[in-house]
Protein backbone atom coordinates (compact mmCIF):
# COMPACT_ATOMS: atom_id res chain seq x y z
CA UNK A 1 0.00 0.00 0.00
CA UNK A 2 2.83 2.37 0.96
CA UNK A 3 4.64 1.61 -2.28
CA UNK A 4 1.49 2.34 -4.22
CA UNK A 5 1.06 5.73 -2.49
CA UNK A 6 4.71 6.58 -3.07
CA UNK A 7 4.38 5.67 -6.75
CA UNK A 8 1.26 7.83 -7.06
CA UNK A 9 3.02 10.81 -5.43
CA UNK A 10 6.09 10.36 -7.66
CA UNK A 11 3.86 10.07 -10.75
CA UNK A 12 1.95 13.24 -9.86
CA UNK A 13 5.23 15.10 -9.27
CA UNK A 14 6.66 13.92 -12.60
CA UNK A 15 3.50 14.95 -14.48
CA UNK A 16 3.50 18.41 -12.88
CA UNK A 17 7.16 18.90 -13.72
CA UNK A 18 6.62 17.84 -17.33
CA UNK A 19 3.54 20.03 -17.67
CA UNK A 20 5.45 23.13 -16.49
CA UNK A 21 8.96 22.93 -17.90
CA UNK A 22 11.19 25.57 -16.36
CA UNK A 23 13.18 26.25 -19.52
CA UNK A 24 10.14 27.31 -21.50
CA UNK A 25 11.10 29.22 -24.64
CA UNK A 26 9.52 32.69 -24.71
CA UNK A 27 6.78 33.07 -27.28
CA UNK A 28 7.97 36.49 -28.45
CA UNK A 29 11.37 37.87 -29.38
CA UNK A 30 11.11 41.45 -28.11
CA UNK A 31 8.70 43.73 -26.30
CA UNK A 32 8.79 47.49 -26.23
CA UNK A 33 6.90 49.30 -23.49
CA UNK A 34 6.08 52.92 -24.18
CA UNK A 35 5.57 55.61 -21.55
CA UNK A 36 1.85 55.61 -20.76
CA UNK A 37 -0.03 58.81 -21.44
CA UNK A 38 -2.43 60.32 -18.92
CA UNK A 39 -5.99 61.22 -19.77
CA UNK A 40 -7.26 64.71 -19.07
CA UNK A 41 -7.96 65.30 -15.40
CA UNK A 42 -5.61 62.63 -14.10
CA UNK A 43 -3.46 64.25 -11.42
CA UNK A 44 -0.34 62.18 -11.04
CA UNK A 45 3.25 63.38 -10.74
CA UNK A 46 5.43 63.15 -13.89
CA UNK A 47 7.72 60.80 -11.93
CA UNK A 48 4.85 58.32 -11.73
CA UNK A 49 4.90 57.63 -15.49
CA UNK A 50 8.68 57.14 -15.41
CA UNK A 51 8.51 54.76 -12.50
CA UNK A 52 5.62 52.82 -13.98
CA UNK A 53 7.56 52.48 -17.26
CA UNK A 54 10.55 51.07 -15.35
CA UNK A 55 8.37 48.70 -13.34
CA UNK A 56 6.52 47.50 -16.44
CA UNK A 57 9.82 46.69 -18.15
CA UNK A 58 11.08 44.95 -15.03
CA UNK A 59 7.90 42.86 -14.79
CA UNK A 60 8.09 41.98 -18.49
CA UNK A 61 11.64 40.75 -18.00
CA UNK A 62 10.62 38.70 -14.97
CA UNK A 63 7.62 37.17 -16.78
CA UNK A 64 9.83 35.51 -19.41
CA UNK A 65 7.12 36.22 -21.94
CA UNK A 66 9.72 37.69 -24.31
CA UNK A 67 13.39 37.09 -25.01
CA UNK A 68 14.33 40.74 -24.67
CA UNK A 69 12.67 43.90 -23.38
CA UNK A 70 13.86 46.79 -25.51
CA UNK A 71 13.78 50.46 -24.56
CA UNK A 72 11.38 53.00 -25.97
CA UNK A 73 12.18 53.92 -29.56
CA UNK A 74 14.82 51.25 -30.14
CA UNK A 75 15.25 49.58 -33.49
CA UNK A 76 14.31 45.93 -33.88
CA UNK A 77 15.58 43.67 -36.65
CA UNK A 78 13.05 43.19 -39.44
CA UNK A 79 13.33 39.44 -39.02
CA UNK A 80 12.18 39.75 -35.40
CA UNK A 81 9.38 42.25 -36.04
CA UNK A 82 6.71 39.60 -36.55
CA UNK A 83 7.51 38.13 -33.15
CA UNK A 84 7.76 41.49 -31.38
CA UNK A 85 5.28 43.36 -29.25
CA UNK A 86 4.67 47.03 -28.54
CA UNK A 87 2.68 48.07 -25.48
CA UNK A 88 0.90 51.41 -25.54
CA UNK A 89 -1.38 52.62 -22.82
CA UNK A 90 -3.26 55.39 -21.10
CA UNK A 91 -3.95 56.09 -17.45
CA UNK A 92 -7.65 56.83 -17.64
CA UNK A 93 -8.56 57.53 -14.04
CA UNK A 94 -6.90 58.25 -10.71
CA UNK A 95 -8.69 58.82 -7.42
CA UNK A 96 -6.70 59.99 -4.42
CA UNK A 97 -8.99 58.30 -1.93
CA UNK A 98 -9.92 59.38 1.55
CA UNK A 99 -7.80 58.48 4.56
CA UNK A 100 -10.59 58.99 7.11
CA UNK A 101 -13.30 56.94 5.40
CA UNK A 102 -10.77 54.30 4.45
CA UNK A 103 -9.67 53.94 8.08
CA UNK A 104 -13.20 54.08 9.53
CA UNK A 105 -15.39 52.13 7.13
CA UNK A 106 -12.92 50.68 4.66
CA UNK A 107 -14.03 52.62 1.59
CA UNK A 108 -12.29 55.47 -0.20
CA UNK A 109 -9.08 53.76 -1.19
CA UNK A 110 -6.91 55.42 -3.83
CA UNK A 111 -7.49 53.83 -7.21
CA UNK A 112 -5.96 53.79 -10.63
CA UNK A 113 -7.44 52.66 -13.92
CA UNK A 114 -5.43 52.10 -17.05
CA UNK A 115 -6.02 50.67 -20.50
CA UNK A 116 -3.35 49.24 -22.75
CA UNK A 117 -3.08 47.84 -26.26
CA UNK A 118 -0.59 45.18 -27.15
CA UNK A 119 0.21 45.32 -30.86
CA UNK A 120 2.43 43.28 -33.14
CA UNK A 121 5.35 45.39 -34.31
CA UNK A 122 5.39 44.23 -37.94
CA UNK A 123 1.79 44.89 -38.99
CA UNK A 124 0.50 46.84 -35.96
CA UNK A 125 -2.19 44.22 -35.45
CA UNK A 126 -3.85 44.49 -32.06
CA UNK A 127 -3.17 41.29 -30.14
CA UNK A 128 -5.05 42.15 -26.96
CA UNK A 129 -6.60 44.99 -25.01
CA UNK A 130 -5.89 45.18 -21.30
CA UNK A 131 -7.82 46.92 -18.54
CA UNK A 132 -6.25 47.23 -15.13
CA UNK A 133 -7.73 48.55 -11.91
CA UNK A 134 -5.59 48.94 -8.81
CA UNK A 135 -6.85 49.94 -5.37
CA UNK A 136 -4.54 50.62 -2.44
CA UNK A 137 -4.61 52.34 0.93
CA UNK A 138 -4.73 56.14 0.48
CA UNK A 139 -1.77 56.59 2.85
CA UNK A 140 0.53 54.63 0.59
CA UNK A 141 2.94 56.12 -1.89
CA UNK A 142 1.67 56.36 -5.49
CA UNK A 143 4.78 54.45 -6.63
CA UNK A 144 3.49 51.36 -4.80
CA UNK A 145 0.39 51.66 -6.94
CA UNK A 146 2.61 51.82 -10.03
CA UNK A 147 4.38 48.66 -8.93
CA UNK A 148 1.11 46.81 -8.41
CA UNK A 149 -0.33 48.13 -11.69
CA UNK A 150 2.72 46.92 -13.64
CA UNK A 151 2.48 43.52 -12.02
CA UNK A 152 -1.22 43.20 -12.85
CA UNK A 153 -0.69 44.50 -16.38
CA UNK A 154 1.89 41.84 -17.22
CA UNK A 155 -0.20 39.13 -15.56
CA UNK A 156 -3.24 40.12 -17.64
CA UNK A 157 -1.13 40.35 -20.76
CA UNK A 158 0.35 36.92 -20.28
CA UNK A 159 -3.11 35.48 -19.76
CA UNK A 160 -4.63 37.28 -22.75
CA UNK A 161 -1.80 36.30 -25.08
CA UNK A 162 -1.96 32.70 -23.94
CA UNK A 163 -5.68 32.61 -24.63
CA UNK A 164 -5.17 34.33 -27.98
CA UNK A 165 -7.65 37.07 -27.11
CA UNK A 166 -8.50 39.27 -30.02
CA UNK A 167 -9.96 42.78 -29.80
CA UNK A 168 -13.71 42.92 -30.21
Amino acid sequence: MRILILMMVAGTFAMTTLANPKDETPQYKTAEAKHFTTAEGVELTPAFADYFYAELRSELTKSKLVNEVVGEGEVVDDADATKSLVINGTITEYKKGNVVTSALIGIGRQSLKMDADVVRRSDKQNLCVLHVLVKIDPRWNEKIMAKEAAHQMVKEMKKALAEGTKPS
Binding site: A47, D50, Y51, Y53, A54, E55, R57, S58, V70, G71, E72, G73, E74, V75, N141, K143, I144, A146, K147
Partner: protein, 228 residues
Protein backbone atom coordinates in the same frame (compact mmCIF):
# COMPACT_ATOMS: atom_id res chain seq x y z
CA UNK B 1 15.80 96.38 32.95
CA UNK B 2 17.04 95.00 36.25
CA UNK B 3 20.25 93.07 36.67
CA UNK B 4 18.26 89.84 37.12
CA UNK B 5 16.39 90.40 33.82
CA UNK B 6 19.62 91.17 32.06
CA UNK B 7 21.24 87.98 33.40
CA UNK B 8 18.20 85.90 32.41
CA UNK B 9 18.26 87.34 28.89
CA UNK B 10 21.99 86.70 28.52
CA UNK B 11 21.57 83.11 29.72
CA UNK B 12 18.72 82.54 27.29
CA UNK B 13 20.78 83.89 24.39
CA UNK B 14 23.78 81.74 25.38
CA UNK B 15 21.64 78.61 25.68
CA UNK B 16 20.00 79.28 22.29
CA UNK B 17 23.39 79.87 20.66
CA UNK B 18 24.69 76.65 22.20
CA UNK B 19 21.73 74.67 20.90
CA UNK B 20 22.18 76.08 17.38
CA UNK B 21 25.90 75.21 17.48
CA UNK B 22 25.13 71.68 18.70
CA UNK B 23 22.55 71.22 15.93
CA UNK B 24 25.09 72.44 13.37
CA UNK B 25 27.68 69.96 14.66
CA UNK B 26 25.10 67.17 14.59
CA UNK B 27 24.14 68.02 11.02
CA UNK B 28 27.79 67.96 9.96
CA UNK B 29 28.29 64.63 11.70
CA UNK B 30 25.30 63.15 9.79
CA UNK B 31 26.63 64.26 6.43
CA UNK B 32 28.10 61.09 4.88
CA UNK B 33 31.66 61.18 3.64
CA UNK B 34 33.12 59.09 0.80
CA UNK B 35 35.23 56.21 2.11
CA UNK B 36 36.58 53.14 0.31
CA UNK B 37 33.91 50.96 1.96
CA UNK B 38 30.98 53.09 0.77
CA UNK B 39 32.27 53.81 -2.73
CA UNK B 40 31.03 51.89 -5.75
CA UNK B 41 32.46 51.61 -9.23
CA UNK B 42 30.01 51.78 -12.14
CA UNK B 43 31.14 50.08 -15.32
CA UNK B 44 29.34 49.22 -18.52
CA UNK B 45 30.81 45.73 -18.70
CA UNK B 46 30.24 44.29 -22.15
CA UNK B 47 30.03 47.03 -24.80
CA UNK B 48 26.57 47.70 -26.21
CA UNK B 49 26.42 46.77 -29.92
CA UNK B 50 25.14 49.81 -31.83
CA UNK B 51 22.60 49.53 -34.63
CA UNK B 52 23.73 49.07 -38.23
CA UNK B 53 23.90 52.28 -40.24
CA UNK B 54 23.60 52.46 -44.01
CA UNK B 55 26.73 54.63 -44.13
CA UNK B 56 28.57 53.96 -40.83
CA UNK B 57 29.87 57.32 -39.63
CA UNK B 58 32.78 57.99 -37.29
CA UNK B 59 31.70 59.56 -34.01
CA UNK B 60 33.67 61.66 -31.56
CA UNK B 61 32.45 62.64 -28.09
CA UNK B 62 33.47 66.24 -27.62
CA UNK B 63 32.29 66.51 -24.01
CA UNK B 64 29.71 65.43 -21.48
CA UNK B 65 28.11 68.20 -19.44
CA UNK B 66 26.28 67.63 -16.16
CA UNK B 67 22.88 69.32 -16.32
CA UNK B 68 21.34 67.43 -13.41
CA UNK B 69 21.59 70.36 -11.02
CA UNK B 70 22.73 67.93 -8.34
CA UNK B 71 25.22 69.64 -5.98
CA UNK B 72 26.76 66.28 -5.07
CA UNK B 73 26.68 64.23 -8.27
CA UNK B 74 28.96 61.54 -6.84
CA UNK B 75 26.67 60.80 -3.90
CA UNK B 76 24.01 58.38 -5.12
CA UNK B 77 22.47 57.73 -1.73
CA UNK B 78 22.53 59.75 1.49
CA UNK B 79 20.88 57.30 3.87
CA UNK B 80 22.76 54.73 5.93
CA UNK B 81 26.20 56.31 5.71
CA UNK B 82 25.85 57.17 2.03
CA UNK B 83 26.88 55.50 -1.20
CA UNK B 84 29.35 57.30 -3.48
CA UNK B 85 30.62 56.87 -7.01
CA UNK B 86 34.35 56.57 -7.64
CA UNK B 87 34.15 58.79 -10.73
CA UNK B 88 32.08 61.72 -11.92
CA UNK B 89 28.88 60.58 -13.70
CA UNK B 90 29.96 62.56 -16.78
CA UNK B 91 33.16 60.49 -17.00
CA UNK B 92 31.26 57.23 -16.54
CA UNK B 93 28.77 58.08 -19.31
CA UNK B 94 31.53 59.22 -21.67
CA UNK B 95 33.52 56.03 -21.11
CA UNK B 96 30.41 53.86 -21.61
CA UNK B 97 29.50 55.41 -24.98
CA UNK B 98 33.13 55.52 -26.15
CA UNK B 99 33.66 51.88 -25.21
CA UNK B 100 30.62 50.78 -27.23
CA UNK B 101 31.47 52.92 -30.25
CA UNK B 102 35.08 51.74 -30.19
CA UNK B 103 34.08 48.08 -30.05
CA UNK B 104 31.90 48.59 -33.14
CA UNK B 105 34.62 50.54 -34.98
CA UNK B 106 32.53 53.71 -35.00
CA UNK B 107 34.82 55.85 -32.83
CA UNK B 108 37.05 58.34 -34.61
CA UNK B 109 40.67 58.57 -33.39
CA UNK B 110 40.34 62.35 -32.96
CA UNK B 111 37.83 65.13 -33.42
CA UNK B 112 39.34 66.16 -36.75
CA UNK B 113 38.65 62.86 -38.44
CA UNK B 114 35.13 62.48 -37.06
CA UNK B 115 32.03 62.75 -39.26
CA UNK B 116 29.71 63.43 -36.36
CA UNK B 117 30.60 65.09 -33.06
CA UNK B 118 28.53 64.30 -29.97
CA UNK B 119 27.90 66.69 -27.10
CA UNK B 120 26.16 64.91 -24.26
CA UNK B 121 24.04 66.70 -21.63
CA UNK B 122 23.46 64.49 -18.62
CA UNK B 123 20.14 65.12 -16.86
CA UNK B 124 20.04 62.25 -14.39
CA UNK B 125 22.49 59.66 -13.17
CA UNK B 126 21.93 57.35 -10.24
CA UNK B 127 18.90 56.54 -8.16
CA UNK B 128 15.53 58.20 -8.61
CA UNK B 129 12.62 58.29 -6.19
CA UNK B 130 10.99 54.88 -6.14
CA UNK B 131 8.41 53.06 -4.09
CA UNK B 132 10.76 52.57 -1.15
CA UNK B 133 10.49 48.80 -1.55
CA UNK B 134 13.16 48.66 -4.23
CA UNK B 135 15.83 50.76 -5.94
CA UNK B 136 14.95 52.71 -9.05
CA UNK B 137 18.02 53.39 -11.16
CA UNK B 138 17.79 56.00 -13.87
CA UNK B 139 20.22 57.46 -16.40
CA UNK B 140 18.92 60.14 -18.73
CA UNK B 141 20.79 62.26 -21.21
CA UNK B 142 20.35 64.23 -24.36
CA UNK B 143 22.93 64.38 -27.13
CA UNK B 144 23.53 66.98 -29.79
CA UNK B 145 24.80 65.16 -32.87
CA UNK B 146 26.65 67.62 -35.08
CA UNK B 147 27.90 67.14 -38.60
CA UNK B 148 31.39 68.63 -38.62
CA UNK B 149 31.26 69.45 -42.33
CA UNK B 150 27.87 71.12 -42.64
CA UNK B 151 27.55 72.39 -39.05
CA UNK B 152 24.01 71.00 -38.84
CA UNK B 153 22.98 69.25 -35.66
CA UNK B 154 20.14 67.17 -34.26
CA UNK B 155 19.11 66.22 -30.76
CA UNK B 156 18.88 62.60 -29.64
CA UNK B 157 17.40 61.70 -26.25
CA UNK B 158 18.10 58.54 -24.32
CA UNK B 159 16.87 57.12 -21.05
CA UNK B 160 17.72 53.97 -19.18
CA UNK B 161 15.89 52.55 -16.19
CA UNK B 162 16.35 49.63 -13.88
CA UNK B 163 14.61 48.21 -10.86
CA UNK B 164 16.60 46.30 -8.25
CA UNK B 165 15.28 44.74 -5.10
CA UNK B 166 15.83 46.42 -1.77
CA UNK B 167 18.12 45.06 0.92
CA UNK B 168 18.44 45.19 4.69
CA UNK B 169 22.16 44.66 5.10
CA UNK B 170 24.36 47.57 4.06
CA UNK B 171 26.68 45.35 2.02
CA UNK B 172 23.79 43.89 0.02
CA UNK B 173 22.21 47.29 -0.38
CA UNK B 174 25.43 48.72 -1.84
CA UNK B 175 25.74 45.74 -4.20
CA UNK B 176 22.14 46.12 -5.36
CA UNK B 177 22.57 49.87 -5.91
CA UNK B 178 25.73 49.25 -7.94
CA UNK B 179 24.03 46.63 -10.13
CA UNK B 180 20.97 48.82 -10.51
CA UNK B 181 22.90 51.85 -11.75
CA UNK B 182 25.06 49.70 -14.03
CA UNK B 183 21.92 48.23 -15.57
CA UNK B 184 20.37 51.69 -16.00
CA UNK B 185 23.60 52.94 -17.63
CA UNK B 186 23.64 49.97 -19.98
CA UNK B 187 19.99 50.53 -20.80
CA UNK B 188 20.58 54.22 -21.53
CA UNK B 189 23.62 53.51 -23.72
CA UNK B 190 21.59 50.92 -25.58
CA UNK B 191 18.64 53.28 -25.92
CA UNK B 192 20.97 55.86 -27.45
CA UNK B 193 23.02 53.60 -29.72
CA UNK B 194 20.10 51.46 -30.89
CA UNK B 195 17.46 54.17 -30.89
CA UNK B 196 15.48 55.26 -33.94
CA UNK B 197 16.26 58.88 -33.01
CA UNK B 198 19.98 58.32 -33.63
CA UNK B 199 19.23 56.49 -36.86
CA UNK B 200 17.09 59.37 -38.10
CA UNK B 201 19.70 61.93 -37.01
CA UNK B 202 22.54 60.09 -38.75
CA UNK B 203 20.45 59.65 -41.92
CA UNK B 204 19.45 63.32 -41.98
CA UNK B 205 22.96 64.59 -41.26
CA UNK B 206 24.48 62.19 -43.81
CA UNK B 207 22.17 63.59 -46.48
CA UNK B 208 23.60 67.00 -45.60
CA UNK B 209 27.11 65.69 -46.20
CA UNK B 210 26.15 64.26 -49.58
CA UNK B 211 24.58 67.56 -50.57
CA UNK B 212 27.69 69.55 -49.65
CA UNK B 213 29.75 68.92 -52.83
CA UNK B 214 26.87 70.26 -54.94
CA UNK B 215 26.71 73.41 -52.86
CA UNK B 216 30.49 73.89 -52.70
CA UNK B 217 31.26 77.15 -54.46
CA UNK B 218 34.07 77.49 -56.94
CA UNK B 219 37.45 78.66 -55.71
CA UNK B 220 36.76 82.23 -56.83
CA UNK B 221 33.53 82.54 -54.83
CA UNK B 222 33.44 83.49 -51.16
CA UNK B 223 32.00 80.66 -49.00
CA UNK B 224 28.82 81.55 -47.12
CA UNK B 225 28.38 80.65 -43.46
CA UNK B 226 26.05 77.69 -42.85
CA UNK B 227 22.45 78.73 -42.35
CA UNK B 228 21.10 78.07 -38.82
Amino acid sequence: MTLRDSLRLTTTILVAAGLVWMAHLQANADEPKPKPENTISIQLGEPVPPQKFQHPPKFWIADVTDRSGNPQPMMVMKERGGVFLDKQPTVIVKEAIEQSLKAAGLLAPDSGSADLVLRVYLFHFGLAEGSGLDFFGKVEFSTMVKNTKTGESQEVKAVGTSIAKGAVRKKNMQKNVEEDIEEALRDAARNFLRGTELKEAVTALWKGTEAVPVEVPSATETPKPPSR
